[in-house]
């Protein structure tokens, strides 16, 4: 039968707000997260961590620990397979230090024992001889020629000779004649910015339960954004084959990019192998802050030239990022995204990654973009202020659109930036009056979004219900969206479909839940799998009717004879075809596997009003509106949820959150008391406006939305606070002491 591949624009189920399938489990406490399972004979493990920010490990003597009653095994780096691949080696060395400890909290040994208390006591019996080395935690200090070297020989061929070995990579993007561009400007503003490292702050600490048996097979339960990636990494580190290791993703208590890699999972597997018993590891909050993956810290210079009527003539940014003690490519994405919202004839961004004695960076929503766009949008706002121009009008005048050569190279197709800017301009928030001491700020923001490797299997039960098996942990409500897209394509009610998430043995490879890819890529695969099942059901109906398969169409959840046979037989519903499936050839299923491309970029604009208390330096967020292009919002409540959640993370990042290192190189605020994330009483309602400019690369027009919302808040808040106090701030977070300092400078 002919399949209809024209993009769908009228929907019955997509765009509605049905209840999510995991809702009851989560509101009753029945849902099982990483730390919620146990196994018979289970041991508990704890990890020994470096108290030094940088030291050589001269020797480790684990004998006293091993001799303690109740201790069943101790592991160190020697218990893992050495990796040839550089990036695998870095992940492994981060999980368990080899010759050097590189940051305060770096793991170097682990103990499995019959009780948690015995494991903790055993840690104290491990004798480590360290040789402390000079350390460096500041990105600019680490770039200097005389800086302590964190790792030697890690600089790529892109780094010019003569730089500190801490500089591991260099990138440059852009086009056009900068000098000529700046010459045409009526005003050029040049500013430098710094941002502190922040943490994703998921409420659930990392937790896993590993169980390896004597035949070398293992089961691993863990909270993760990507069970297949966990399998790949752990199998390499333990010298296992993929089929020997079955990884099951628990429900996840937040990830935001921080649970896309491994920290404790290989350690639990190694201990399970050594002991022949299940081993559970749960990180403490202190360990999560010290030894998982915060963002880069950054130091950025931006220079932008503008004509007096608001046209940007040239733009340049230099980004220095540090992703901690291991090489990190995030600056590439920062450098590419910095000016993405603008249509520029002359633009250049330069990026450097620098090693510091800090934990290894992991992604946090749109990695690299928040920092770069914070700096760029702050300078654009300053230019608007100085030239007396409306900041939204200036964005509109310079906005990237279809046909714009982006600052990172490719030409844009249909994008939603202008629609979001116009929606912001038309919104009552933009013209609401402000009292004295209050300020309004805005920022545009952007993220690339990804596709990636995806498998979906769709099975039709004989009672007419449908089971969908997909492989991506649900971090934002994706199971509901996937069921909706299947319901739409099959033409059956949403509540006839149940979507579950497979373990690595039950379905082919799926890339990690990241890159805002799931609703897009898994959704696309679901639609294709549904079409596959539909084709098979039409074929069954054709055989039952004794007509040609080409003459059957699928309408509203049923097969119908078409063409010369139209009207000869009543339609056969999915349930009716399924009921006789065993007689007509066997169980019916559709499936689809691919490496998805064509994810559409997502633009957003945020508006915020603030009031600053000049006595305490505290900032109160009065009003916040998020505008974002979703392409097509499959489940509007979950799209709104992404917009609101990302915005609030950005508010925390802008106003309070930061990693604070002492001169001793140790993290001073490794807990929620002093790493202050937003609480309910800090915030107003977060209003959302969803725009829908369909993505040509998806049958329903879907764009990823999860990451973009963390990008605009940083500059939106900085611009609002700067306008409220009458002084430009150029460092994040804008915590009360920093605001008071800026106020006192006048």
């Amino acid at each position: 039968m002919a399949l209809d591949n024209t993009p769908k624009r009228v929907f019955k189920v997509v765009g509605t707000r049905p209840p999510r399938p995991d809702g009851v489990d989560k509101v009753t406490g029945r849902a099982l997260y990483g730390a919620d399972v146990s196994a018979p004979g289970m041991l508990t493990a704890h990890i020994l961590r470096s108290p030094h920010p940088h030291a050589a490990i001269v020797s480790i003597d684990t004998s006293a620990a091993e001799a303690l009653e109740g201790v069943k095994a101790v592991v160190t780096a020697a218990d893992f397979v050495r990796q040839d691949d550089g990036s695998l080696r870095d992940v492994l060395d981060n999980c368990m230090a080899r010759d050097k400890v590189l940051y305060d909290g770096h793991a170097l040994a682990a103990v499995a024992a019959t009780t948690p208390d015995i494991a903790k006591a055993a840690l104290k019996l491990i004798k480590v001889t360290y040789k402390a080395l000079p350390h460096v935690t500041d990105v600019d200090a680490a770039m200097r020629a005389d800086a302590p070297v964190v790792q030697e020989g890690r600089s790529l061929e892109t780094v010019p000779d003569g730089m500190s070995q801490n500089v591991t990579s260099h990138c440059e993007f852009g086009h056009g004649d900068l000098a000529a561009g700046f010459a045409k400007a009526d005003l050029v503003v040049e500013r430098s910015f710094t941002t502190a490292a922040t943490h994703q702050g998921y409420i659930e600490p990392h937790a896993c339960l590993a169980s390896m048996t004597a035949d070398g097979k293992a089961d691993l339960w863990c909270c993760t954004q990507g069970q297949y990636n966990v399998r790949t990494l752990c199998a390499a580190m333990l010298g296992m084959e993929a089929s020997q290791l079955r990884v099951t993703a628990s429900e996840i208590g937040g990830g935001f990019g921080g649970k896309t890699t491994v920290f404790i999972e290989p350690v639990a597997l190694a201990l399970s192998r050594k002991t022949g018993r299940p081993v559970k590891i749960v990180m403490s909050r202190d360990e999560v802050f010290k030894a998982t993956g915060p963002t880069v810290s950054s130091s950025i210079d931006v220079k932008i030239g503008m004509t007096r009527d608001g046209r940007i003539t040239a733009a340049e940014a230099h980004l220095r990022y540090s992703g901690g003690a291991f090489p990190c490519g995030t600056v590439d994405m920062g450098a590419q995204s910095a000016f993405a919202s603008y249509d520029l004839s002359a633009v250049r961004t330069l990026g450097w990654n620098v090693l510091t004695n800090r934990p290894k960076e992991a992604a946090y929503r749109a990695p690299g973009a928040p920092q770069a766009i914070y700096a760029v949008e702050s300078v654009v706002d300053e230019l608007c202020q100085k030239l007396g121009l409306d900041p939204l009008d200036v964005r509109l005048m310079n906005a990237a659109r279809k046909g714009t050569r982006s600052s990172y190279g490719p030409t844009f197709d249909d994008i939603g930036l202008i629609a979001t800017l116009e929606a912001a301009k038309a919104h009552p928030h933009y013209v609401a009056p402000l009292a004295t001491g209050q300020g309004r700020g805005l920022s545009a923001g952007f993220w690339f979004n990804f596709g990636g490797n995806t498998c979906v299997s769709l099975n039709v039960n004989t009672d007419g219900t449908v089971g969908i098996t997909e492989g991506n942990p649900d971090i934002g409500g994706s199971r509901a969206a996937i069921s909706q897209m299947a319901a739409e394509e099959l033409g059956i009610p949403y509540d006839k479909i149940r979507t579950i998430i497979a373990d690595t043995s039950s379905l082919g490879h799926n890339d990690v839940t990241d890159g805002s890819r799931v609703t897009f890529a898994v959704g696309l695969a679901t639609i294709k799998a549904a079409q596959d099942a539909v084709a098979k059901m039409c074929s069954r109906a054709a055989r039952i009717w004794g007509i040609d398969e080409e003459a059957v169409v699928w309408v509203d959840g049923a097969a119908m004879p078409a063409g010369p046979n139209a009207g000869k037989f009543p339609p056969m519903t999915l349930a009716e075809i399924a009921a006789v499936s065993f007689n007509t050839g066997g169980p019916i299923a559709g499936h689809f596997e691919f490496n998805a491309d064509g994810a559409g970029v997502s633009f957003g604009v945020h508006l915020v009003d603030v009031e600053v208390d000049r006595e305490t330096g505290a900032t109160k967020v009065l009003r916040y509106t998020v505008f974002q292009d979703a392409g097509k919002a499959v489940h509007p409540s979950y799209v709104e949820g992404q917009m609101q959640g990302g915005a609030v993370q950005g508010i925390g990042w802008a106003l309070n959150e930061e990693y604070i290192y002492g001169a001793d190189g140790r993290l001073q605020n490794a807990g929620f008391l002093d790493y202050r994330v937003p609480v309910a009483s800090d915030l107003p309602p977060i209003e959302t406006v969803i725009l829908e400019i369909p993505n040509p690369g998806h049958p329903y027009g879907v764009r990823g939305v999860g990451e973009t919302p963390i990008v605009p808040p940083l500059a939106a808040l900085s611009n609002a606070v700067s306008r409220a106090i009458g002084t430009r701030l150029n460092s994040l977070p804008m915590s009360p002491p920093r605001i008071l300092k800026a106020l006192s400078k006048g």
Binding site: T158, A363, P367, G697
Partner: protein, 81 residues
């Protein structure tokens, strides 16, 4: 022949050219030819690159067809969170 845009920090391996021409009809052929014609690009290509073809980003698809009129932009391999 296909015109490929090379990003700024790689141009020192293409004699300063921002755009180079290679004979290729798909992504894999393009990468193989670039490595051959400009050996300085090889380490980056081995580490991983994405390809933007007429505005759409492809991360790994070897058999993505490239026409002579296509806009082809080399980009670093992207990751999200």
């Amino acid at each position: 022949m296909v015109a490929v845009t090379i990003w700024g920090s790689l141009r020192r391996f293409t004699d300063g050219q921002g755009q180079v021409e290679v004979e290729a009809s798909n992504f894999k052929e393009l990468l193989d030819r670039l490595s051959q014609d400009y050996p300085g690009l090889k380490p980056q290509i081995e580490r991983g690159v994405s390809l933007a073809l007429d505005g759409r980003i492809y991360r790994e698809a070897w058999f993505t067809e490239i026409g002579p009129q296509s806009e082809v932009v080399l980009m670093p391999y992207m990751a999200g969170g």
